[in-house]
Symmetry: C2
Subunit: 161 residues, 2 copies
Amino acid sequence: MKPIQKSLRLAALAAALAGAVAAPAIAQQSPKPENLIKWRQSAFQVVAWNSGRIKASLDGGYNKDQVLKSANVIAAIANSGLGSLFAAGTESGKGWHDTTAKADLFTNTAKFAELGGEFGKESNELVRVVSSGADAAAVKDQFGKLQKTCKSCHDEFRNAN
Amino acid sequence: MKPIQKSLRLAALAAALAGAVAAPAIAQQSPKPENLIKWRQSAFQVVAWNSGRIKASLDGGYNKDQVLKSANVIAAIANSGLGSLFAAGTESGKGWHDTTAKADLFTNTAKFAELGGEFGKESNELVRVVSSGADAAAVKDQFGKLQKTCKSCHDEFRNAN
């Protein structure tokens, strides 16, 4: 073997080893489908809790600090990668209760991603509006836009429960 | 009545009316105990989901963006005012399942608030460390501190389930 060839083979070996080191050291167990379903049901309950608190504050004397806390929770969840909780294998099954996700959600993934993106966008905007010190009317307007993204996705992909 | 007295009485009346308008327009229904229990069980499941994702990322090739998403969710929940989900009337009862909260939690509220404050503090610090671009070792160290706050509170206030 010529020195240049040997050098190239060593370089290739080094690159392969570097790849091996960079790769996951431990193969992760995928979570069980029932856990994914439980976590997504939990995530949407936390969104519901905080949506209810925002509505109560807007209806009963606006409190910026309280609404900001709730808006932060909704935005963090909306941007958390919820799609991973709708992995293949979770089309049916039970978390806290039987899933209410429609079969379409798992095939029309482009639409699901689009609606999820709108949920993230409008919840980020709610955090921005509340943080800016806008008045209750402006917050209510943006909260309405956020709620429309919930409804759009429920109408498209959630069975009535 | 002298004009100045009449003017003062009108001013007082106007102030009283302004107060009435600023007061809650609609009396809010308090959420049912079973909903509060369901929401707190959901909130801690969402924390568990995201703690698991952080652990998986630290064990299997650190991904800053993914860990930041999860850290943001945990911090937003930790700072959301979880204490309100442990209101009087929720000492026992069923949300998704029977509550695992110990009776002590509802009487030793100072300790519960202290442990809740540590949960908020360490989760905020995790967001800061991850956002700063620290290496996986530093993130792992801070994540360990956060997990200790979970354990402290569970040891003190949660029955094994």
